[in-house]
């Protein structure tokens, strides 16, 4: 995405690791998320059956994407909404900006949408001279901080309550009267309420696009999506094409998985289906409703080995359970989407050359796939990126050379055995007693931990010696 020149991934990760406040914030949020998800799954005996169903729904839609998108367009148009198609992020930004300018918009409210982040909407609105007001509480926090989201469900999860108090003291006029959460939330409500009622255009994302009704569905716990989409004269929805489901019943089948996997709740506080603009006799609602359907690499994924990633319902469980995410947080990943799902998607969106570290910076422990509500084999997809990176010669020459030499030897057992025998003897020279604490070219290991010093003989040597001994 259009981020300015970024430090390399390893430097970003190192900086994140050194930030103990960040670690505290990550531990608080992901720890709670993990506990609550586990409880929600334990209280839902049909979880595996629901997962199977969710996966089947997504696979069916992915296999028939064109059919359902056309059905959606027809029904959404019949409801009075205008449907727009955007091939990529630039086209999506242009469409949304044009609608805002045509509406004479000075203030635009936005309810949290990762797709909006993906297409670079915040910057586009600023460039068009339009005041953007983020209405999700966490998005409000990071807007005050001038930061992108660090998590797809809790965009401000990298900020501790204490840091939020500082941001509100500086960013709210008048500042909150106290720094307890309730008072701070009241202060944000007061400020946002004026904006809700004064906005010309409201922009939301969509958790689901319902093909047979043409409705878009948003889920929130704060009610900000309803206040973003109802009072302004114009409502714009931006959504990725993979958000389509055949019917409302299918949306609810996926909601059962989404909410439990994301927050551990059974249902969000607000689940709203937006179907067309205000009709004659309606008490409220926007006069115009626009739905911008965004491809941005998704149909390309349909045809390649990353197809299963289109199942993703953006719950965030993979990152909450990822040992790497829990150490470095979301910003270090450098893309719109962090964590395991982001490490699959960022190379699609930003190109592999710019993001090859992401699929590599994973231990392949498989916990992300274990908790994924739609059973995306994330490690397999990350490995597919590694394969491409290897084939396209994006991996460092030292690794390619070293691994190539090792593989050459490993295909010649006699040479490999000899190499191992020499190797353990050389290794022994670097240590005393049972351990090696420092070794040239092995700082990646010995910089942080000791290396067990190998015994003088390999297993194969010892085994052959014992075999000869028994035969005599």
């Amino acid at each position: 995405m259009h981020t300015a020149t970024k430090a390399p991934f390893k430097d970003r990760a190192k900086a994140a690791l050194a930030d103990r406040t960040l670690k505290l914030a990550i531990d608080r949020t992901t720890g709670t998320a993990e506990t609550k998800r586990a409880a929600a799954v334990a209280n839902f005996p049909e979880f595996q059956a629901a997962r199977d169903r969710g996966r089947a729904i997504k696979d069916h839609v992915i296999a028939n994407l064109g059919h359902y998108l056309e059905m959606f367009e027809k029904n959404a148009t019949a409801s009075g909404a205008q449907v727009h198609w955007a091939v990529d992020d630039a086209e999506a930004r242009a469409i949304v900006t044009r609608i805002c300018l045509d509406a004479g918009a000075k203030i635009v409210t936005r309810s949290k949408s990762m797709l909006g982040e993906e297409i670079g909407l915040p910057h586009a609105l600023a460039d068009a001279g339009i005041e953007r007001v983020e209405t999700d509480l966490a998005e409000h926090i990071i807007q005050l901080a001038g930061e992108p989201p660090s998590h797809i469900i809790w965009p401000a999860m990298h900020r501790t309550r204490e840091q939020v108090a500082d941001l509100f003291r500086e960013g709210h006029n008048p500042p909150p009267e106290a720094e307890d959460p309730a008072t701070m939330v009241q202060s944000a409500r007061r400020i946002l309420r004026e904006k809700f009622l004064g906005a010309d255009v409201g922009i939301s994302g969509a958790n689901f696009l319902v093909a047979d009704t043409g409705a878009t569905c948003t889920v929130t716990n704060e009610g900000n999506a309803e206040l973003t989409t109802t009072p302004p004269r114009v409502h714009i929805v931006t959504a990725g094409v993979e958000k389509i489901v055949p019917s409302t019943a299918h949306a609810f089948a996926l909601l059962r998985l989404l909410v439990r996997s994301a927050t551990g709740g059974e249902m969000t506080q607000y689940t709203t289906f937006h179907c067309g603009p205000k009709r004659a006799g309606d008490a409220d609602g926007p006069e115009e409703m626009h739905i911008v359907l965004v491809d941005n690499g998704r149909t390309r994924m349909l045809a390649d080995e990353f197809r299963e990633m289109l199942r993703c319902i953006r719950c965030g469980a993979c990152m909450n359970h990822c040992v790497v995410y829990r150490q470095i947080g979301g910003h270090a990943y450098g893309g719109t989407y962090p964590g395991p799902m982001g490490s699959v998607l960022t190379p699609v969106l930003d190109g592999l050359a710019a993001s090859r570290d992401l699929p590599n910076a994973c231990t392949m422990n498989g916990r992300c796939a274990e908790v994924c509500p739609v059973e995306i084999p994330i490690p397999t997809l990350l490995r597919a990126w590694r394969t491409r990176s290897w084939r396209e010669r994006l991996e460092p020459g030292s690794l390619r050379g070293g691994l190539g030499l090792w593989a050459w030897a490993a295909r010649r057992p006699a040479i490999y055995r000899l190499g191992s025998r020499i190797g353990v003897r050389v290794l022994r020279l670097f240590g005393k007693g049972g351990w090696i604490s420092h070794m040239p070219l092995a700082g990646g290991w010995t910089g942080h931990r000791d290396l067990p010093r190998p015994p003088g003989r390999t297993f194969m040597e010892e085994y052959r010696a014992r075999q000869k001994g028994t035969r005599k």
């Binding site: 690791l17 040992v323 916990r367 049972g434 015994p455 194969m460």
Partner: protein, 255 residues
């Protein structure tokens, strides 16, 4: 899964055990023989190819996969003292060779008879150690590949329950990765260090005398971190304890 009465087992010792801790290989032979197997160690074995597989070097992985299949496919069973190497052979080989008309079937056939050792002993051979005593407390880390790709969790615990005097203590976050990840631990050493530091803290928090696990890579990572931190925890592969070798030197102790 009923086992054959006196199966011929090909032992794949794994490259790490070969170089760093041969005792694990001999513990495997002892336990397999106690369980009634005839054990052979083919000299043509090298590495399962996992470092190449996880680096995206599919061409070399395929070559090593075919070599390993050719070396081991004649045995009744192939057994490894490692969940991650076993998972590479059980899942990785058939996946990589799926499109190859000759090797796909051979990869699937070998995958079907390849087992991590504790699951082989418990599930296939119905083995339980007897007469083993060890007055110590121990905690167990579930290595990720074995746990999630092969379902190894109950078997090592069941086998360890037959060691008299061994008090098992739960490890908080027992199923959370230790940060090893093969080449990950040196490629992204700062992140790996942060992960293994939390693991070491959890292990130390149990106060157990021993840390046990089923994969030498994870064990080297955790043992190396525990030693660097000055912890007194002694680290063993599960099967070393099952074979009655825990009175000998632990990982990083000279014999």
């Amino acid at each position: 899964m009923p086992g054959k009465p006196n199966p011929r087992v090909g032992l794949f010792v794994t490259c790490l055990v070969d170089a760093i801790r041969p005792q694990i290989g001999f513990a495997a032979i002892q336990l397999l023989e106690e369980a009634g197997c005839t054990v052979e160690v083919p000299q043509a074995q090298t590495c399962c190819g996992q470092p190449a597989f996880n680096s995206g070097d599919d061409r070399d992985t395929v070559r090593l996969a075919c070599q390993t299949i050719a070396t081991f496919e004649g045995f009744d069973y192939v057994v490894l003292p490692s969940g991650s190497c076993a998972a590479t052979m059980v899942h990785g080989y058939p996946e990589l060779l799926a499109g190859d008309p000759e090797w796909a079937a051979r990869a699937r056939a070998m995958a079907a008879k390849t087992h991590e050792i504790t699951s082989f002993l418990a599930d296939v051979m119905g083995y339980a150690p007897s007469g083993r005593r060890l007055a110590a407390s121990a905690t167990y880390h579930d290595s990720c590949s074995g746990l999630r790709e092969l379902g190894i969790a109950a078997q090592p615990r069941a086998l360890l329950s037959h060691v008299e005097g061994l008090e098992m203590r739960g490890l908080p976050g027992n199923d959370v990765c230790c940060g090893f990840g093969g080449t990950f631990c040196v490629k992204y050493s700062d992140i790996s260090n942060a992960i293994v530091t939390e693991k070491a803290e959890a292990v130390e928090g149990t106060g157990a005398d021993l840390l046990l696990a089923g994969d030498l890579g994870c064990l080297m990572n955790m043992a190396g971190k525990l030693h660097r931190r000055g912890a007194k925890t002694r680290c063993f592969h599960t099967i070393e304890v099952l074979a009655g070798q825990a009175d000998g030197p632990a990982i990083g102790e000279e014999g």
